[in-house]
Amino acid sequence: MFLRSLPSSSAFRSAARRISAVRMAAISTASEEKGASSAEKEQRHQLPSNPPPLQVAKRLEKFKTTIFTQMSMLAIKHGAINLGQGFPNFDGPEFVKEAAIQAIKEGKNQYARGYGVPELNSAIAARFKKDTGLEVDPEKEVTVTSGCTEAIAATMLGLINPGDEVIIFAPFYDSYEATLSMAGAKIKSITLRPPDFGVPVDELKSAITKNTRAIMINTPHNPTGKMFSREELELIASLCIENDVLVFTDEVYDKLAFEAEHISMGSLPGMYERTVTMNSIGKTFSLTGWKIGWAIAPPHLTWGFRQAHSFLTFATSTPMQWAASVALKAPDTYFEELKKDYSVKKEILVEGLKAAGFIVYPSSGTYFVVVDHTPFGYENDVAFCEYLIREVGVVAIPTSVFYLDPEEGKNLVRFTFCKDEDTLRAAVKRMKERLHKR
């Protein structure tokens, strides 16, 4: 490996953060506590009776238990049908799996170039051109990462200085807030509200100022299924150009756009130079565990991104990159079939949720639907989800964890339809039969 020179340590401004004593127990995830009793664990650990004071970074003080893990554990315990966690229970296409197997057998098992296998960078650029008409340089403007999750982390850690103001739309995928906290950013949240989760124009106009460093946009949107319209994107764009603001987009569900056309912010006039466009193969090809994602950005933004990426993971899984380059060249028919299959699944779920008594909000994209659970009389989303698992045998995700203020999300829960039809039908049946108003 060849080396680069290092930045000087004076390069970072200090963040002004205070910490109250944080005991680790407050932030450990629920999943680790299964199995061993605490007494057994103490014994195995041979911890001293007075362990040293906890030495954990301040950046973790806002971390909550990940709700996905909690709900999954409860689901397993009760044999519930899991429509909570957003990954398929069916597998990816054979031609992509075969490509990975070929790569392994051909010995493509050593470090790939840090910013991506050239064939994949090219395939990503070609796909982006097909989808948006934009021509980008695969060598200077495309970077491959371990999933879109890492792209988000590298964007925040590579481009955001401590104290920078960043706007996110609630409800938001939890890693946006987590990585912004890690970067020491000041987070401003704008809430999208039912029934259509439209962007509140006045609130947006007063939120974006000369002090704003960046705005994060997830479209199609997890958890609501909202797709940002051209009008909304144009408004955001004009405010960003006026105030010199960066845009970070998470477009992992772009191929699951049912009711509207997916629009990439980077393709709007004046926007490419200030946009980091992120995506991955996980959702499009039902291979969420392969962790192949990427960011497309102009060279002056790619530079900072690549620095962070090189420290976070250094390089991305080589055989999967080769397979991804094959996947991205899939014919149009693949994507048409994908949409058709998911549309059928969506129909089953939405019809079932309506019949079961939920208020169902229309979802234009992704494989998620959010519903209002209040007709059933539970005080909040977490209580409702616990009831749903225990008494009905179905898992949904309480959406309050996707807001800075959990109160804002307490009426909503999220269901996914990235499951085979039998599973969806079984879940719908359980809900129709067992869901009761309190």
Binding site: M1, P7, M24, A25, S146, G147, A153, T313, S317
Partner: protein, 395 residues
């Protein structure tokens, strides 16, 4: 738009070492620079990965079996009792395990001690987290730890010590005495220890790799990081882990979940097969690498190098340029690429702190021997082709 760059990225400049890398590529040089193998990964491990893909194990996963097996190995190899359910975080390579550990433990202004020369990424990670890397020079020619200097490097802001053993680039394996000194300091100063043990199974001459965590009172303050990459010749699979007391592991896990969330699933499955390899596998690994080490040392000695420090572990030789070769490390590597068609790494990029003799930082070259016999033989031949009448390289 320039103002949109973070301060850190604006301070970085392209390095002369990258230019050498491009030169090597252009000349089609035999690559003894990169620290990854040019021979195949073991067949049984590749088969396991292929089987996993075919068995539809392709969604987000945490393979608990890896942790169970690692716990067994911790006990067998180091006498450590760890909790397989709580003490491990499976990450995308040791790279991510280390980054997540640093982000989980290092705050703005925290100092972290590093032994110099060092793999460059440690300092970069620490800086990314807002920490301050403090370099403790190991003393040439044998890269010994000067305990006095080490102790004097601690301040009230010291949070952790990073220990890479077996060591990149020198090939040093820290001795029991040195580990005891490091352990004593960590305990006395109430610091964490973060280890990089990726070369743990590649030690020579009956040297045993000792994990710092196995020393008295160290387990409770040590985070071990390692990976499959070097042990199983699969540097491109990105399967690594952190092992720490459950409360610290939990913090690392929380970071990891938001950095990548999951290591590649089919390779997690294959990791199980890898870690369950019979003792014979690890024995052969050692023996083969030892033979390669001996070959490369001979190869270098034959052309005039005086190797005063034989690597005790890792896949590298950190060779000092003989005093009568009046070229710098960069000049030497350039000549080697252009004249002999063999690439190596100039040592200066590994030195960060002050070393007693400033000139020494430009006197070392790192050669990797994680290469097949064809490659090594070809390299040796190419070097022999350019020696002069003295039998040594003319520089």
């Amino acid at each position: 738009m320039e103002l949109k760059l973070s301060k850190a990225s604006r301070s970085l400049t392209p390095s002369p070492i990258q230019e050498l890398s491009h030169l090597a590529q252009r000349c089609g040089a035999i690559n003894l620079a990169e620290g990854f193998p040019d021979f195949s990964a073991p067949p049984h491990i590749k088969s396991a990965a292929v089987a996993a893909i075919n068995a539809d194990l392709n969604q987000y996963r945490h393979v608990q079996g890896i942790c169970d097996q690692l716990a067994v190995m911790m006990k067998q190899n180091h006498g450590l009792d760890v909790n397989a359910l709580t003490d491990f975080v499976i990450c995308c390579g040791q790279s991510e395990a280390f980054a997540a550990t640093i982000l989980a433990t290092i705050d703005q202004g925290d100092e972290v001690l590093l032994f110099d020369p060092a793999y460059e990424t440690y300092a970069s990670c620490i800086i990314l987290a807002g920490g301050i890397p403090v370099n403790v020079p190991l003393e040439p020619p044998h890269w010994t730890l000067n305990v006095d200097k080490f102790m004097k490097s601690f301040t009230s802001r010291t949070k952790a010590v990073v220990l890479n053993s077996p060591h990149n680039p020198t090939g040093k394996v820290f001795s029991k005495e040195e580990l005891e000194a490091i352990a004593a300091a960590c305990c006395q100063m109430d610091c964490l220890a973060i280890t990089d043990e990726v070369y743990e199974y590649i030690t020579f001459d009956l040297q045993k790799h000792i994990s710092l965590a196995s020393l008295p009172k160290m387990q409770e303050r040590t985070i071990i990081t390692s990976s499959l990459s070097k042990t199983f010749s699969v540097t491109g699979w990105r399967i690594g882990w952190a092992c720490a007391p459950s409360t610290i592991a939990s913090a690392i896990r929380n970071i990891h979940i938001h950095v990548t969330d999951s290591a590649p699933s089919p390779f997690q499955e294959a990791a199980l097969a890898a870690l369950q390899s019979p003792p014979g596998y690890f024995k052969s690994l050692k023996a083969e690498y030892e033979a390669r080490r001996d070959f490369v040392i001979q190869m270098l000695s034959d052309v005039g190098f005086q190797i005063s420090f034989k690597p005790q572990g890792s896949v590298f030789v950190f060779a000092e340029l003989p005093k009568n070769w009046l070229v710098s490390d960069i000049e030497f590597v350039k000549i080697l690429i252009e004249k002999a068609g063999v690439a190596a790494v100039p040592g200066r990029g590994f030195f960060h702190g002050d070393i007693d003799d400033q000139n020494l930082r430009t006197r070392y070259v790192r050669f990797a021997f994680c290469k097949g016999s064809d490659t090594l033989n070809a390299a040796a031949q190419k070097l022999r082709d350019i020696v002069g009448s003295t039998g040594h390289l003319q520089l």
